[in-house]
Structure formats: C-alpha cells, structure tokens
Symmetry: C2
Subunit: 295 residues, 2 copies
C-alpha cells in the first residue's frame, strides 16, 4: 500500500498542488503499485494539505489505464465517508489508536469512542459495497504513553475486523520498534486475526523499518505500507524520518526473490521528482545510492 500521496504529503510542511499530487499518483500507478492511498476526507481546517480531496478523486487515472489499481482514502468520520462515497471512493480507511494518550491527543476521544464512531461508517460502506481498511496506530509505542501492550493492539485490531475491515494495518507510528517488539505484537494480534488480514506499517525513524518488515515477512505478513521517497517525516521528532520508503522495501523484496510487480528504476525516478518538488533529497537510502550512481 503506497501511502505517499496521503500519509506522506499530509505530514509535509510544503503544500503540494493538486496537479502535482495527481502526477504523483499517475507515476506510482505506472511504476506498478496497485494500492495507492490517494487522499484524506478530513476537514481542511485540520489538514489543509488534503483540502483538495474531491478534485483528487475526480482526477484519478481512468480504470481503463490502470485496471488493477485500487485507490483508498482516509475517512475520519461519517461526514468524511459520505463525501468520499459521493466522490466515487471504492475503498476507505479508518484510523484508531492502540494507546489512549494518542487517541485523546490525535482524535480527541477514547479508543472505545473512536471505534463506536466507526460503526455507521462500516454499515454505510457495507450497503454501498465499499471496502474498509482499518489502521491501528502506536502498535509498539506511543509518543505520550510510552510502550504499548501487545494485547491492547490485539483488542483494537479484533474490533476493527469484527466491524468489517478487510485488512488491519498495524502502525509503528513513532518507528520505535525492533524485530523483537514487532514480533511480540504480531504474536498477540495473530491470536485474534488471521495473518493474511494483517499489514505492517512501519516508520523508519530509528532505521529499523526494513528489519521489521523482514521479520514480519518471515512471520507471515504479505502486505506492507510504505511511502515513496519516505515522504512524511516524523511529527514527533522534527527533522527525523517517518514512513519507510517504498524504494527500500522494493529493493528488499527484490533481494528476497519476492515478486512485487513494481519497477524499482521508475520508483527512483518518481522519488527524485517528488523530492525535488519539496526541495530536498529522497528520504530513501536506495534512491540516494541509485541516484548517486547515475551521476
């Protein structure tokens, strides 16, 4: 799941034009990515970077051009869901935390309240045949509460599955995890959810994301989130890295002999281009090394 256009750009200071976002999505689809998180139907008051969500939906590449690409959008509440559905979304994502501190600071309610709010979204989505992906954040540690109990992650994941999520994306939001803490968390979640319904969403803040993906792949996960050029940064440690770069994961999987269907050279071109738009180099060691070799 390529999250650069949403999770990535949402956390960049620079606001990128709608045309640039649409070109980014087009380039990602062309490079072979089949799941792209394209926008967020959140109030522009809170996230001005995502104010153009309806224009993004209207401007997505036609299904004729990329018949196998799914576009997902984040919908924090029913109002956002209805707007997304009206704009033609076929997949939405909802977002809960595994830590009370993060839930309160980030969405201003308890974990239980946030899950309750999602019930009408899941009901409406079911009626309209729209898929729902569930995000759980802070699955290893929370910037406010510290370490998070694996059982708490499992509880939230179980409820999101029960409500009807087709997949649960497990987010190490502050990138604090290592293979040990990630595997402890996965073992707890696997007791309540089949591993084929789990995705790893690991941030590279402490340089552990590739190792965490490798350990999770060995554990049985087959779905991972990443962001082209590592777009997004880290809101909890300004100047540090956030989302793991898509290029780094494709390089890893190429090395492991795992087919991703993604063209690494095209990804690096895309990373170079979008990073240039943001006035910096890609937050990806693979892109930096491959670009350095080209020069």
């Amino acid at each position: 799941m390529e999250v650069g256009p949403r999770d990535g750009l949402q956390n960049e200071k620079e606001v990128v034009s709608t045309a640039t976002k649409l070109e980014l999505i087009e380039r990602l689809a062309k490079a072979g990515l089949q799941d792209i998180e394209a926008a967020s139907f959140v109030s522009p008051k809170w996230v001005p970077q995502m104010a153009d969500h309806a224009e993004i939906m209207a401007g997505l590449p036609s299904a004729e051009r990329y018949p196998n690409v799914n576009y997902s959008v984040l919908t924090p509440n029913l109002k956002g869901f209805e707007a997304a559905a009206a704009a033609g979304a076929r997949e939405v994502a909802v977002f809960a935390a595994a830590s009370e501190g993060f839930s309160q600071k980030n969405i201003n309610c308890s974990i239980a309240e946030s899950l309750e709010r999602f019930v009408p979204i899941f009901e409406a989505a079911k009626q309209q045949g729209i898929r729902v992906r569930g995000y759980v954040s802070c699955v290893v540690a929370c910037p406010y509460d510290g370490p998070v109990a694996p059982e708490k992650v499992a509880q939230v994941a179980a409820r999101l599955l029960e409500l009807g999520s087709y997949e649960i994306s497990l987010g190490d939001t502050i990138g604090a995890g290592t293979p040990a803490s990630v595997l402890r968390m996965l073992e707890a979640v696997e007791r309540v959810a089949p591993v084929r319904k789990l995705a790893g969403h690991y941030h590279d803040t402490y340089g552990m994301a590739v190792a965490n993906v490798y350990a999770s792949y060995q554990f049985g996960l087959r779905s991972f989130d990443s962001s082209i050029a590592g777009l997004g940064g880290c809101p909890y440690a300004k100047g540090a890295t956030g989302n793991v770069a898509t290029e780094d994961l494709v390089y890893l999987f190429n090395g492991l002999g795992v087919q991703t269907g993604v063209d690494l050279d095209a990804l690096v071109d895309c990373a170079d281009w979008i990073s240039g738009m943001l006035g910096r180099a890609p937050n990806s060691r693979v892109s930096r090394a491959m670009l350095a070799k080209r020069n």
Copy 2:
C-alpha cells in the same frame, strides 16, 4: 568492532586532526566499545588521512583507564605490520577481497597473491603474540565484477583462518546485500569456518544493513563491525551512505534484549560531536531521531 576512526575517517574527504581522532577514540572507549579500529599503517601516499598512525598509537588511552579495550590497526603489508608492531599494536588486521576485480583495482594483485603476501605477517604476528583479524571484502557483490559467489568468499575466509586469523570480518563493501544473499553467503562460509569466528561488516548504502545484521544474528553471528555516525560514506556511490552506524546497531540490540555494554546516549553525543567536526549531520537514523527529540 568500532571502525569509525579507521574505515570511517579514511573514507571522509575532510582530514581530521590527530587530536580529534584521539578524542574520538577516547569517547568511543568511554561509551563502552571494547574493540576499536584505531589507525591504518598504510603509506600516506595512498591514504593521507591515516598518515598519523604512529602518533595515534602513542596517544591511545592508557590500559589503566580502559583495561578491556582492544585497539586494532590495519596493516596492508609486512612493512606496515612491522611499523605497527614497533608502535605497540597488539592486534592488526589484513584485508583480502572475494572478487578478483576488486583485488586488482584496490590492492593491485590477484586474491591468491594478496593471501601469499600475508604469510610473513601471520608468521611475525604469531612470534610476537599479536592477534590478526582477517577482512574479506565484496562478500556479496563487487563494484567491478557484480555478484560474488558464496563459495569464493568461503575459500578466502578459509585461507585467512588457516593462516591464523582469530576472526574473519565479512564485508558487504557496497552494501548491496539483503538477508537472502547475506544468508546464502554465511551458509557457504559456515561450511569452512565456525560461526563464532565470523563477524558481519555490512554497509548501509541501500538501507539493508540493520536487516542483514538481524538475519546474521539469527544465523548465529555475535560480532559486528560498525562506524560511529556512519562515518565513511561510500566511495562507489558518492553521496551515498557507507558503514552502518554504531548507534543503529546498539539500538537494534537494545531492542532485541542483547547486552552490548554500550551507552546509547553517549554514542549519540559522540556522533553529534564528530559529525559537527565534519560539518554535517550523523549518517544514522537513531542519532538524527534522538537529537531531534532533544531539541
């Protein structure tokens, strides 16, 4: 094995003063690192950054202050070995390649010739009770010849052990490896060498080093080389990263519950200081994240 003062600084454009190098070594010892590669007894014609090797040896912290710290120096030939021994070295390192192309371009002779040249070094070292560490470079791929056969690495490692190396450091010189290629290489080497005599020396050029260390640790390796602040860069892709940062490995092992005896906060202080001397930020995600959180 902390290689920042040698492998790291040798590959930095900026030449660092002897006093700064000695302070670096002192800080690393104080942070808890017990194996430090301090200098190279190579001709200053080839490596001007290491011209002060005798001064470095003379200025090392006294054994009273850090009784458990070993200092190693690189000795490319018998002349270098004799100078190192005269300067009081108790451990030296020799350096062979697993690829003919690299051997020819880097040390101007075939692999077999380079191993032959080491014979008198091993003999002299044995007589004088000096330990020898054997490096093998290009254990996964070569910047000139491409992929390197695991059996070739095993051959070179076996010969270096036979000559009397106490440990073989397996270097992924261009950082191209992933856990799959690293494990294939380790499996071949393990057939000729006990795993307790092997060390992983992985570069982070493509962001894979932490995953490769994790996979190697699972395989049974307990010794790893790294460079404070990722000092060194990559001579084969200018602008890219080289040695994996010591901070990143200590963070990984702390997470895995493996005792390293190294103080991560002191390491980050040291990385910040030496990177400042070089006019840039540390090439370590851990240092960047921890420094960003402090500000």
